[in-house]
């Protein structure tokens, strides 16, 4: 089962080491992890995508993470009505012959072309992971040179922020 956790942590040196260290030593199966600043200067928010066998394993992940001194709050937003997004930048081979096909694909996915040169172009797409996966698959035919993805971030719909959940 896959879950999305919003983890609010104090923005102090060593926090990410503590989190990643814990994940690896407890052998938790983390799919994605994305960290960034928040509306509060001293708080960082980490969205963790975790894959677990059952609810007990999830309980372990949450409880062990909660024990870290710099972890302020963990909200399981898997079952909360929420918006999940990931940003991807994909560098694809493009020449005169296939460029217009590529542009079509990009439009269908509502992606953006953010860099073009004679041999390649860079596509930017934000969306759910499955959408990015799908675009990547289609672009494979053109020849992908590199992909960079942020890992998913998530926010609940409605007025309640994760820190108050």
């Amino acid at each position: 089962m896959k879950y999305t956790l919003a983890v609010l942590v104090e923005n102090r040196p060593g926090v990410l080491t503590h989190i990643s260290g814990l994940i690896s030593r407890r052998a938790f199966n983390i799919e994605s992890i994305a960290a960034g600043p928040t509306e509060e200067v001293d708080t960082t928010r980490i969205t963790i995508g975790v894959e677990v066998e059952d609810e007990f394993e999830l309980e372990q992940v949450v409880n062990q993470l909660s024990k870290l001194v710099n972890v302020i709050k963990i909200a399981n937003i898997t079952y909360v009505d929420s918006i999940q997004r990931e940003l991807a930048l994909i560098k694809v081979r493009a020449n005169k012959a296939n460029r217009s096909d590529l542009v079509d694909v990009v439009e269908i996915f509502r992606a953006k072309i953010v860099d073009v040169n004679r041999e390649t172009l860079v596509v930017e797409l934000s969306g759910e992971e499955s959408k990015i996966d799908a675009l990547c698959e289609v672009l494979t035919d053109f020849g992908i040179l590199e992909i960079v993805r942020t890992g998913r971030i998530a926010i609940s719909r409605g007025p309640v922020p994760a820190k108050d959940m």
């Binding site: 503590h18 007990f56 062990q64 024990k67 001194v69 709050k73």
Partner: protein, 566 residues
């Protein structure tokens, strides 16, 4: 008042009511040591940093106070690692302070630089790197608070050399502000009502006590609970001492080397109430087969312990100092007789197990049995001593045969199983409890892992009595080789030229030796009466097994009860 960073550290220690630190100096902590010198703050120089951290641990285990140790950067810090891990596994409150290279040298592979925060992240409750003196008072305050509250544990503070030399107008903060840390005291009391309901329904209940009781100092509450209910009790290695070993309700230690009665009761019980335990694999063996018929109740302060190894049907999360008195109170209100809590058939059955198969030895009569040594010391000290062990067979025999009477009287490395823990831990305990008999049971293998601390012992005139259970083998390894590796004794003999009596004497510790059974009593009596530190080297047969034994992966009721001779 302007103060040096090093002096700030000392002032913080005073504010935390630390009465002694254990440590070892070096380049990065020279200013700190200079402050020790100037303030005359009590400090014990061990002969190795590992000795310092274990001593701080022994001090903490014996008293419940937070132990403190100092070490320099690089090798000083890395030498602490085993001791920090030992304390972490057994939830012991420690603050380890290490020096770090100058701020501008951090990250440059400078002389004696090691990323001790990185290294100790998995084995500390929390750690800090201090690069600015302004952060120092707050970090010190937080470190002590974190180490001793909630589920205790070691906290490391790595302080750059520059910070010790910098100055600050010192004010010790009165409170801590930790947004992500709450130490839980009271929990959900309605859970306790559910526990009582479950207890009322149970026909074959067992109470399983662990290290949490010793750490929280709640043995009185456990005893009250037993008095009220008469429910049979089993104990983990770390739980020994919370109720007297010879109490009729006490079935003994459970697990790999548990007693027949304790292990049988675990398999047969229909309710198992774990109090301050973490269901370690040395207790449970294969978890699927642990207490298969039982409703599991788990009392613990750490929510992450519940459902980690064994699934709990009911959980009571909170400090045992909250939950146990409340449980006793509610039980007393019920006006139910002891017989209804602990039914006669069940009590009869467990008592029958206890009588049927007491602890056994595989040795023929004649030689000195290791169990006899421990029984004799138990008798001589009336179970009132602080007992410290190293790791191996002698540790298990001590757990099985010493008659413990009081909480925090058994100091042993349970979770990590650290050979070399014993001697320095005994030093730490003796320093804080000068009136107590502190006795170390160690092995011919283990004593050598920190034997340099004999010097610390002698030079501080600490009257610890060291009993070397000298079977001339790494006995526990030997036993496994005998049982599971076709008696191929690969590198498990310590037979050689070492003379423990001379070793002791060389460092200023009196040495005695016992080679014949008839000498045992007189020598032990003499040793315990002697004033300063004494080492007694007792020659034991090589091939005694620790029994019973549950083979790895076996079920608790499938015990090897008789050993293999030869």
């Amino acid at each position: 008042m302007k103060m040096l960073g090093a002096e700030v550290v000392i002032e913080c220690l005073k504010a935390e009511e630390v009465d002694i630190v254990f440590g070892y100096p070096g380049g990065a902590v020279l200013t700190l040591y200079d402050a020790l010198f100037k303030t005359d703050f009590p400090h014990i120089l061990t002969r190795h940093e590992q000795g310092a951290v274990h001593a701080a641990d022994g001090y903490a285990r014996a008293t419940g106070k937070t132990g403190v140790c100092f070490a320099t950067s690089g090798p000083g810090g890395t030498n602490l690692v085993t001791g920090i891990a030992t304390a972490y596994m057994d939830s012991i409150p420690l603050v380890a302070i290490t020096g770090q290279v100058g701020v501008s040298l951090i990250g440059k592979d400078s002389f004696q630089e090691a990323d001790i925060c990185g290294i100790t992240t998995p084995i500390t409750k929390h750690n800090y790197l201090v690069k600015k003196i302004q952060d120092l008072p707050c970090v010190m305050k937080e470190a002590f608070y974190i180490a001793r509250t909630g589920r205790p544990g070691p906290v490391l503070i790595d302080i750059s050399k520059d910070v010790f030399n910098d100055t600050l107008d010192f004010v010790y903060p009165e409170t801590v502000c930790l947004r992500g840390y709450r130490s839980l005291f009271a929990g959900d009391s309605s859970q306790i009502d559910l526990v009582i309901e479950a207890l009322e329904k149970a026909e074959k209940p067992v109470i399983f006590v662990g290290g949490g009781v010793n750490i929280s100092g709640t043995s009185q509450d456990v005893r009250k609970l037993i008095n009220l209910t008469g429910i049979p009790v089993i104990s983990s290695l770390m739980g020994l001492g919370c109720i007297p070993s010879d109490a009729p309700e006490h079935l003994g230690m459970v697990g790999m080397h548990g007693t027949y009665a304790a292990n049988m009761a675990t398999i047969d019980c229909d309710l198992l109430m774990g109090i301050g335990v973490r269901f370690d694999d040395r207790v449970t063996s294969l978890v699927q087969n642990f207490a298969p018929k039982a409703t599991i109740i788990h009392f613990d302060i750490d929510p992450a312990e519940v459902n980690k190894n064994v699934r709990a049907d009911l959980k009571v999360i909170g400090d045992l100092r909250w939950s146990l008195p409340l449980l006793c109170e509610k039980i007393a209100e019920r006006n139910v007789t002891k017989k209804q809590w602990a039914r006669a058939e069940w009590v009869g059955l467990v008592q029958e197990w206890k009588r049927e198969k007491p602890l056994a030895s595989s040795l023929p009569a004649g030689g000195i049995r290791p169990q006899t040594v421990i029984e004799k010391v138990s008798e001589l000290t009336q179970g009132e001593a602080i007992i410290v062990t190293d790791v191996g067979q002698h540790q298990m025999w001590t757990a099985q045969s010493y008659n413990f009477n009081t909480q925090r009287s058994f100091l042993t490395s349970g979770g990590l199983g650290t050979m070399g823990y014993g001697l320095p831990a005994a030093i730490g305990a003796q320093i804080t409890l000068p009136e107590k008999n502190v006795i170390l049971f160690t092995g011919d293998g283990s004593i050598m892992m920190n034997c340099q601390e004999l010097a610390t012992l002698a030079d501080n005139g600490l009257p610890v009595k060291i009993i070397v259970m000298n079977n001339q083998v790494l006995g526990m390894v030997n036993q496994w080789q005998r049982m599971f590796y076709g008696k191929r004794y690969s590198y498990s003999s310590t037979k050689g030229c070492t003379d423990f009596v001379k070793l002791a004497e060389a460092m200023g510790v009196a040495g005695l030796r016992v080679t014949k059974p008839e000498e045992l009593n007189t020598v032990l009596e003499k040793a315990l009466k002697m004033e300063g530190p004494v080492l007694v080297d007792i020659l034991l047969p090589e091939t005694e097994d620790v029994l019973p034994m549950v083979a790895p992966g076996g079920r608790l009721d499938q015990m090897v009860l008789r050993g293999i001779i030869g």
